[in-house]
Point group: C2
Chain length 328, copies 2
């Protein structure tokens, strides 16, 4: 079972407009309301892949109850801790059919107390006993220090659990310090922690190699339209993304994580799991709504990717592969 | 008691940004979640004015329960009918501190069945027995025909109730056809029904005179920064708005209606009630959030307005008054 630890869930309201512009009253008939936040997106994509998964999240108020209902209606399995910090947050995602990238308007959410976090962390540790792999997906709620995530990771490590973390900022730093089984982040989040920009595959290779050398077994960095790069004990791998007509990239990184985790749980090697991850991330970008992937798209996108093992890549080989993938 | 009939309520999420732009991920710490829709804004402003008011609205799902809680937490009185059409809608209001007018992203909301509407209309008729004045504020839910509003207005008229209607489109046409006690709308909504533009005070005077001649006792049209114009049996009145530094005009028309209704219930003549209404609308524009008015601002804004009785206005007199009010 895959356990998806979701510290800061949200109700995601995706509003679709024909021609969105600021400064006036606009109406939409098309609204997609879903259980959201990165962890719920990962769970949605995992469900589509047929991977048994359980989401753990702290919930509050009427919005929390709505989130639990929405997740159940989609067939997602959840174990929720109730907090007393007020309403679960709502994030608003604006999709403009007349073009332009999607806009995500994210609320910070309620401020959890120490007792609220302890209740959630206790539930996570209890449920993790049955998990083959754990993911930590997304930001921390307000009121929760990065060190509290670090402590939870140490507890899970002590219990023999494998955890892959996808977060950012101080929480990511704290996670890296705790040396979890895996780290999966995007290039800008990782670059902000490592102190250098990660603009291309070469820099990403250096970054995942650095993480692996620090004792993190599986290090993955996603590069958007450039695909993703990963390192483990067997080597360093790059999987290019296919060229697609992007609808919304919101949730693509979460679908990548779902594919990667599913591949690893199925016993695939890192390169194959990364290929599944990139295929899922690309399929997600074809849809409105985070973590919504079509299996046929995953299959066709997967076969269109150009995986490249680069244990010791030659510069020319990389450039040629990227040229073939029409990235440059 | 003032009864505020609110057919299509919403949860209003007002998100405040330092520098909002489309096409990226943006975070806000400042979110105001309130019971919303035009009727709830009217009730909020009336409460501040000390006017006893009761809101009637159909509610659904977790969002409906949240709306009832939020209204109660503000001290607003509500009588709610439960519908089975899904979640009460959410409207998203974006305020950009770095300038630009506010953006309202309105959902259409759930589709009410005939039984849902009958339950709501029955509650309205029951509660109206105790009301000195009724207001209908806002749009109709999906699934409800304009003629159903017309039938409700006929029922209320038959029961001897005075009703002022503020709506738009087909619902406004149906309301006008039912000849209620009053109509209060903005210039663009009324112009769309009457078939001519209402760009200035003269045109507004002609429009309210036309409504009054049709048998509508009190006809009011709001002109935004130009104030408002009203007609009843005693004459036609224009109240200019003071020049203010607008923060958000969302809800200004609703606060105007609250002030107007409160004035009339206190036995003021139409001119005085309109002056209170314009003062409330202006005070609302100084704040984020619909129907939030500061009594001190209402008082100072009220004294700054330049009311002008124009029972038979001379063109030159109007132009001079508008010049003095710095509108042109």
């Amino acid at each position: 079972m895959l356990l998806i630890i979701t510290p800061n869930p949200s109700i995601d309201r995706t509003m679709v407009f024909t021609d969105l512009h600021l400064g006036s009253v606009q109406r939409t008939d098309e609204v997609l309301v879903t259980a959201g936040g990165k962890g719920l997106n990962v769970a949605r994509a995992a469900l589509t892949l047929g991977q048994a998964a359980l989401v753990c999240a702290p919930l509050g108020g009427h919005s929390g109850a709505l989130l639990a209902d929405l997740a159940a209606a989609e067939g997602m399995q959840g174990r929720w801790s109730q907090h007393n910090a007020g309403e679960t947050r709502t994030c608003v995602l604006l999709v403009n059919r007349s073009g332009g990238d999607a806009t995500a308007l994210n609320e910070a959410g309620p401020i959890l107390s120490g007792a609220d976090w302890a209740s959630f962390a206790g539930l996570v540790v209890e449920v993790a006993a049955q998990a083959s792999l754990c993911l930590v997906a997304g930001s921390l709620p307000r009121g929760v220090a990065a060190s509290q995530l670090g402590m939870l990771l140490h507890q899970l490590h002590a219990a023999g659990r494998r955890v892959i973390v996808d977060t950012s900022g101080a929480a990511l730093q704290s996670a890296i310090d705790a040396r979890p089984y895996g780290i999966k982040v995007n290039a800008s989040e990782l670059g902000a922690i490592l102190g250098y920009a990660i603009p291309d595959v070469d820099a990403a290779k250096a970054a995942v190699t650095q993480l692996h050398s620090m004792g993190i077994a599986v290090a993955v960095v996603s590069l958007g339209a450039h695909g993703a790069v990963a390192a483990d004990a067997s080597g360093v791998y790059w999987v290019a993304a296919p060229r697609i007509a992007v609808v919304s990239t919101i949730g693509s990184g979460d679908s990548l994580l779902a594919g990667l985790a599913t591949g690893l749980l199925r016993g695939q090697n890192l390169e194959a799991a990364l290929r599944l991850g990139v295929a899922c991330g690309s399929a997600d970008a074809l849809t409105v709504g985070g973590g919504r992937i079509d299996l046929a798209e995953v299959a066709s996108t997967g076969s269109a990717t150009a995986p490249l093992a680069v244990a010791e890549p030659a510069e020319a080989e990389l450039v040629e592969a990227m040229r073939r993938a029409q990235i440059f």
